[in-house]
Amino acid sequence: MDELLRFVLLRDANTVYVVAGTVLLGIASGLVGTFALLRRESLVGDALAHAALPGVCAGFLLAGERRLAALLGGALLAGWLGTQAIALIQRRSKLKDDAAIGIVLSVFFALGMVLLTYIQTLPTGAQAGLDKYLFGSAASLVGRDVAVIGAVAALAAGAVALLYKEFKLLCFDAGLSASLGFPRGLLEAVLMTLLALTVVAGLQTVGAVLISALLIAPAAAARLWTDRLPVMLALAAAFGAASGYVGALFSSLGGSLPTGPLVVLSAAGIFCVSLVVAPERGLAARLLRRRRTNARIRGENALKHIFLIEEHLANPALVSGEDVAAHHSVGVRDALAMLEGLRRRGWVERDGAAWSLTPEGSTEARRIVASHRVWETYLARELALPPDHLHRDAEDMEHVIDRDMLGRLDEELGHPARDPHGTRIPRPEERP
């Protein structure tokens, strides 16, 4: 509890650096990752991060010591070379994006391993501490590192604010963007540079292997919540920041657990929660929607069957639950449950064991049956389908065609009196 309080109040200078570093990194990668996700380049960040490793090592070898500018510059250059190599392999061979990304990622990384092991044999290599670029070491962040991350985050935010319209068009309609005279190559280069800068900023915090997670998960989670780009950008930045904060918090509480993986797992957790609960696109919302649609279809079917039975019966008021069950090919209990549901909506009435349609229910039932039979007529006339090919399609379409569409189809066909099977077509507005 004491530790929690110390963390939340940011008592330790070290905690301040860690939290500031991870939160700023989360914001930067949320913003940049959004555009990567929308451009279907999520894994390019992964490749960039792995490709940066030999650059870090080369920077160290050239500078002869652990100088931040040399390391970051090397990483940036190697990352840029990696993305160029991916583009070249795709353009000039029959290999596709997956192989191109995989090859560049793994070969550059292997080169990084080779250079790293070489550096470790050097007299200066032992203190190089370059291995922390592999898994990151947020605990060792100092003010200067945080300033670098902050600068990258500010750059990302500034670029998004300044070039918002251009980026948006590039993501959603590259063709229109080009025809409006936006410099596509330049914009892509800016986005790629932002991606590379974010990756490099993240190397020290979460490491080469895991930075790609921060670029993907917050943006993917944000995508689930909204269809609007500004909202998505804000959410992705917020999710990224929250991942950074929660990861740093758990790391400070859990003893010696490394921050990087905890930040990544927090981002994955936010994504999982979003996947389930997000409105519209979330699994729960989609399940609910499907169940509602199924319930509506079941209700409409029950209503239709009462109408069809009434159509055949001499005394229309005497439809029983058993009749509906038999006609609809369901169990009696299911049929009764459906009828009870229809009664609650005011579409059927019950008199002892006999069920009958109310005027509203009758209108609704006639709409469904009319949709079915008008659609059959349409298929037979316009598509010249034989009579035995009509019913099944109409069984589905009767739940899709709404009143407006029914009216238009009816008019188009000249208000036919009978369907292709010779049965009379009722109309929703007619008096029974």
Binding site: S93, V114, P258, A268
Partner: protein
């Protein structure tokens, strides 16, 4: 030379077993699935390690392999049911599992004979020294036996299901019509990739398995149009990179597995420079 042989053997068997499957991963555009699986097996390896207390035993192979397989299935579910873009699904699932694995390694560092270096580039020289002892006799490096078994399993899979693999890779529609179990082939491929990734993990680490899955296969793909030739060429690249990688690594005293991959990357670069579309860039514009 007696030092070299076991290491080269282990290196070749790892790369060879991987690229047998890698050829099909590349052709089926599932290269990043190999990346995902080889990272995702890490938590499985650590947990199996904690439970069984030894590395590369059968329970470990099956336990960790099933985590890789589950990750592959999870990615597909996320893509199909969750309607998340394929690349984003891959990126989220494998990084989360890998992060979990790293966390477990850090948490149980004392109990697990695994460290971060091993996770990244394996310890092929140590693996090649660790002998399999049966009935008081040393039977050569244990890693060679395990990778050899993986190699033979993959070879048997490729030979036994040659027709099915070929058909479902090049003409999935015809495969479906002909009643070839395309789904079964797909999942068998993913399952074997997981097992092979676990088997190779000890020697080459999580990240370099990706290279062994994809790089020799891609190089071979650029050299031929025939599937059988491609598989053989991938083996040749694997062997050449194991041999040359070993000697270069010893010469410069650097990571052996890393150097093997760098050599295969160099072979790929040559194959790429000589591939037809590189020579005649206009051909790239023509429909393939």
């Amino acid at each position: 030379m007696s030092d070299a042989l076991p290491v080269i053997l282990v290196g070749y068997l790892a790369a060879g077993a991987c690229s047998l499957l890698g050829c099909f991963l590349v052709l089926r555009r599932m290269g990043m699935m190999g990346d995902a699986i080889s990272h995702a097996v890490l938590p499985g390896i650590v947990v199996a390690f904690l439970l069984s207390g030894e590395r590369a035993a059968l329970p470990m192979l099956l336990g960790a392999g099933s985590v890789g397989f589950a990750a592959a299935v999870g990615i597909e579910l996320l893509h199909r049911r969750g309607r998340i873009a394929q690349d984003a699904s891959i990126g989220i699932v494998f990084t989360a599992l890998f992060a979990l694995g790293v966390l477990l390694v850090a948490r149980f560092a004392g109990q697990v004979d695994l460290d971060m270096d091993c996770v990244l580039h394996g310890e092929i020289a140590f693996a090649a020294l660790d002998p399999l002892v049966a009935g008081g006799r040393e039977l050569g490096p244990r890693a060679a036996w395990i990778l050899g078994a993986a190699f033979l399993a993959n070879l048997a899979f490729v030979l036994l299901f040659w027709k099915e693999l070929k058909l479902s890779t090049f003409d999935p529609t015809l495969a479906a019509v002909a009643g070839v179990g395309a789904a079964a082939v797909h999942y068998a491929l993913l399952g074997l990739t997981s097992l092979t990734a676990v088997a190779a993990f000890e020697s080459v680490g999580a990240v370099l398995v990706v290279a062994m899955l994809i790089v020799p296969a891609s190089a071979a793909y650029l050299m031929t149009e025939r599937l059988g030739t491609m598989l053989l060429l991938a083996q040749a690249v694997s062997l050449a990179s194991a041999v040359a990688g070993y000697f270069l690594a010893v010469r410069w005293n650097v990571s052996i597995a890393g150097m093997m991959v760098v050599v295969s990357g160099a072979i790929f670069a040559v194959a790429f420079a000589l591939n037809p579309r590189m020579r005649r860039p206009r051909a790239a514009a023509a429909p393939a």
